[in-house]
């Protein structure tokens, strides 16, 4: 099976649909009385817009490397051409290189798309992990859909630099899993920046972090609040969706009346319900921390009850038990190679989880949830692939590379922009010193939108966080 066929397993809505009000609403609102922008989410869908601009770049060709496109192909000794921030061409030896392009000898090396970590807490749980930086869990209410991870990201987190040196070019930064509804995810390009907005992935949709299982019920149960049980968790989700459906209906009614020129009282804007409503409208993707098979099935039933789609189950230690269900629902899973046993809900985690789910037609992602693992997602994917091949699943590197590139791009909603080496896509590219599935492989060069963002052998391209200047080691870590 090729990677393309696998991707079909992730039947998710692609790309962001900005929440636009009905066409005539602004005119009608003028006649009536325009709501201030901050009081109607539909007038103001992007209050913290991306200010990202690619770093300077030159047309560049990597010639002679083995290429894993993540779109199903492996091209030995091929050519990748980048120009004007995009992939210009990917092909076999002899593919034309534009005059004036910087030519990099890739002989004996490997090229893949930039690695995408779909489950990161970089910036929100940065290094050093001091209390003043512990910004990942707004553990004050089981429903904090009103918080946005982007407002917790510390762009100076030195972890971003380590991740980049591991080939990571795009990250989904999530709130933690203390809450049933944890808040909005931030999708960023892994570039050094002074503000989060300058990292923010242009045009990426929002995600909503949800959490099943032990964490929410422990956090709130220990405070004598609901949820304190698994059934309390489920009641909490359903309550949230009932409120969201009601809120969505009220705004739809309001906009319908305004568009017809009728007098209408606007509902009061609610940040929690804005986010949940965004899910019901198909604009925001559910990123659901959920380990156990039975709990994933329950979440799927809830999604049917309220009419939304779950983009991805994160951790998903027991995905291998329900691969047909996940495949049928078109839900991706993000898991580790074999991190398990650390709590009851991860007790049945196995090395072959990803491989079995993959062969079952599920869109598989290898994620990190960790500032160390994010640096070698390539090796995690290799371990997970190897576990499948030990039982004859015959998973190729051309397939498995999608677990850390194309599939996470699909799950977080940016596959139309990055995640594979295909002409027209963002030139997010890694040149590896060796087969990236080897323990000995290092990212030699990392390109983000065609710009050299990291070079293992050139100190000019080894950016350092402000925090690390003047410290022991001066931010040099390899």
């Amino acid at each position: 099976m090729g990677a393309l066929a696998l991707l079909a397993g992730c039947e998710t809505t692609d790309g962001a649909k900005p929440a636009t009000p009905p066409a005539s609403s602004s005119a009608a609102a003028h006649e009536q009385k325009a709501l201030p922008r901050g009081l109607d989410a539909s007038l103001n869908p992007d209050p913290f817009p991306s200010t990202y601009t690619p770093m300077p770049s030159r047309p560049t060709a990597i010639v002679g490397a083995n290429i894993l496109t993540a779109a199903g192909q492996e091209i030995d000794g091929g050519v990748v051409v980048m120009a004007e921030n995009r992939i210009l061409a990917v092909g076999p030896a002899g593919t034309a290189v534009p005059a004036g392009a910087v030519v990099i000898d890739g002989k004996g090396k490997w090229v893949t798309p930039g690695v995408i970590d779909a489950h990161s807490h970089l910036g929100v749980y940065p290094s050093p992990a001091v209390q003043a930086h512990s910004d990942g869990n707004e553990a004050t209410d089981p429903n904090t859909a009103y918080v946005w991870a982007e407002h917790s990201i510390w762009p100076e987190d030195p972890g971003f630099d380590r991740a980049r040196a591991g080939g990571v070019t795009t990250l989904e930064v999530l709130p933690g899993s203390a809450n049933l509804f944890g808040g909005r995810a931030a999708i960023v390009k892994n570039v050094p920046a002074i503000t989060e907005q300058a990292m923010k992935f242009p045009g990426a949709p929002y995600g909503l972090k949800m959490a099943c299982g032990e964490n929410p019920k422990r956090v709130y149960g220990s405070k004598g609040r609901s949820p304190s049980t698994a059934m309390g968790n489920v009641a909490g989700y359903r309550k949230g969706w009932i409120d969201a459906a009601d809120y969505t209906r009220k705004w739809d009614d309001y906009h319908a009346k305004v568009s017809k020129g009728e007098k209408a009282e606007p509902p009061k804007r609610d940040l929690t319900l804005d986010t949940l409503s965004g899910v019901l409208r198909g604009d925001i993707r559910i990123q659901n921390h959920c380990y156990r098979a039975d709990e994933m099935a329950t979440m799927i039933a809830i999604s049917h009850e309220f009419g939304f789609h779950i983009a991805m189950f994160h951790h998903a230690s027991e995905a291998y038990k329900i691969a047909p269900l996940l495949a049928k629902e078109g839900i991706c899973i993000a898991t580790w190679a074999d991190w398990a046993n650390f709590k009851m809900e991860s007790y049945d985690g196995i090395e072959a989880n990803a491989a079995l789910a993959h062969r079952g037609g599920v869109c598989v992602v290898i994620h990190s949830d960790d500032p160390i693992i994010t640096q070698h997602l390539n090796q995690e994917a290799a371990i997970a692939m190897g576990a499948g091949n030990r039982i004859g699943l015959k998973i190729t590197e051309a397939e498995a590379i999608a677990w850390i590139t194309a599939n996470p791009a699909k799950a977080i909603g940016v596959l139309d922009k990055t995640g594979t080496l295909e002409p027209g896509k963002m030139a997010d590219v890694v040149l590896w010193s060796a087969d990236p599935f080897s323990i000995y492989a290092k990212a030699d060069k990392v390109f983000i939108d065609g710009a050299l963002a990291f070079d293992r052998f050139d100190p000019r391209y080894q950016p350092k966080s402000d925090f690390e200047l003047g410290q022991p080691g001066e931010g040099a870590f390899q």
Binding site: G176, P324, Q471
Partner: protein
């Protein structure tokens, strides 16, 4: 190692069960990690639980079971240099945690009494080629889970009613054999006294400095107690900061017979600990040592070995701002004895061999990386006369690998511990096989 300690260590060894089977692993690329180095194509003979022969020209004895390694790599069994394997099953489930005293005991706590040979993680460790584990206690930490779960921490070691000086000590380590069906797997007890300094110590001692002062004070108490036990028994000594059982447990430490394993990270803290060990004549092992590379010559000069995680490259605390991926390479180049460990999270036991590979990718010579997961931990823990290399007379802990033992897709095809070939099953593989089967309409519980 002093003569007295050698004798003490020998006395503490529990004899491994003898196995009659004689096995010859032929046609193998043997990484002996001993004086014979790498043998490109040779034979290892296992007899009565020991290595009876190894070399290129060795013939399989008559009647031996022959295993043709088909050119594959054979190494000594890997040694987990510091782990809670066998004393913890599920990190987040308190009832399964025997790697800490729960704040009830200090130095007197001893992991040997909690070792559970039925842990499902032992077969898993063997599937990573790990044949022995150095089980070390912790002074208390969160019952953790996924990264984002770090909002809940417990500091059990901070002590319900324990004096701060007592709470500094995590307790005593033990060496465990990971053989199947071994009801008595502990083969060396009281292998080290463990103390958490640095940030962890500061949670107990109030600061990095405070915890060192408490440690010095505790050692002074131990010396006074050891010299005047009679007075103590008569109730005629000054008050000591530690209870009697802790004072007793620490006597071998101040006598320089039992190593003191100190967990610490920052270069300046390592220097302080080296100074303390010099002044107090302690036998020291340092675990963590993220900034060890900044102190490498001092560590080498003092002959102090380190147990390190070679993935640690984040400035994840102020005490580890200098973390680097080439810590192992730099320490080894300076002459420090380095053991490479995985994360203490149990499944990440397999991580130790990948960490060895990562160290190679960051400049550590391949042979040194192999030593760092075999003979070096054996040396550090005083076990090198029995395990850690493929040498005649040593316990036959031998692993045949499907390829380079550090590679991501490599796995052991056979594991021998003290001469006995180990079963390959694990709980995880049983789960895998149950669900890898095609559906037949019956619930999976019938499969």
């Amino acid at each position: 190692m002093s003569r007295a300690l050698l004798l003490a260590a020998a006395a503490l060894f529990v004899a491994a069960p003898a196995f009659a089977e004689t096995v010859a692993i032929t046609n193998a690329k043997i990484e002996t990690v001993g004086p014979a180095g790498e043998i490109a194509n040779g034979t290892v003979v296992i007899k009565d639980g020991r290595i009876s022969a190894v070399g290129a020209g060795v013939k399989a004895p008559a009647g031996a079971r022959i295993i043709d390694a088909e050119g594959k790599v054979v190494t000594p069994g890997l040694i987990a240099a510091s782990t809670n394997l066998t004393v913890a099953e599920v990190d987040g489930v308190k009832e399964t945690r025997d790697d800490q005293s729960g704040g009830k005991l200090g130095a007197a706590f001893d992991v040997q009494y909690g070792v559970n040979p039925a842990s499902t993680l032992i077969p898993l460790a063997r599937q990573g080629g790990v044949t022995r584990a150095m089980v070390t206690p912790i002074a208390g930490r969160g019952f953790g889970g996924d990264e984002e779960d770090n909002l809940v921490t417990e500091t059990a070691g901070a002590g319900d009613g324990l004096a701060p000086a007592a709470g500094l000590f995590a307790g005593q380590a033990a060496a465990v054999r990971l053989s199947a069906n071994d009801t008595d797997p502990v083969f060396k007890t009281r292998a080290a006294m463990v103390v958490d300094l640095g940030d962890a110590g500061a949670r107990i001692g109030g600061s990095h400095a405070g915890s060192l002062i408490l440690l010095r004070s505790a050692l002074a108490d131990v010396r006074a107690y050891a010299a005047h036990k009679d007075a103590y028994e008569r109730g005629q000594s000054r008050a000591y900061a530690l209870p009697r059982e802790d004072l007793e447990a620490l006597i071998p430490v101040v006598e320089g017979k039992m190593p003191l394993l100190v967990r610490t990270s920052r270069a300046s803290d390592i220097r302080q600990v080296l100074k303390l060990a010099r002044e107090e004549h302690l036998k020291l092992i340092i675990e963590g040592a993220e900034e060890g590379w900044l102190v490498a010559p001092e560590l080498a000069a003092a002959g102090v070995p380190v147990l390190i995680d070679t993935e640690a490259d984040l400035p994840d605390q102020f005490e580890s701002l200098g973390s680097r991926l080439d810590n192992a390479a730099r320490l080894q180049a300076a002459g420090v004895t380095v053991a490479i460990e995985g994360s203490r999270d149990f499944d990440n036991l397999r991580q130790a061999r990948f960490n060895a590979g990562t160290a190679v990718a960051n400049g550590l010579p391949y042979g040194a990386a192999l030593a760092a997961v075999t003979i070096n931990p054996a040396r550090i823990w005083g076990l090198a006369d029995r395990i850690g290399s493929i040498e005649v007379g040593k316990d036959a802990d031998v692993v045949i690998w499907s390829g380079d033992p550090f590679e991501t897709t490599t796995y052991p095809t056979a594991v021998f511990i003290a001469g006995a070939e180990q079963p390959k099953g694990t709980r995880g593989l049983e789960l895998r096989d149950r669900y890898a089967k095609p559906a037949d309409g019956m619930p999976s519980a019938y499969h």
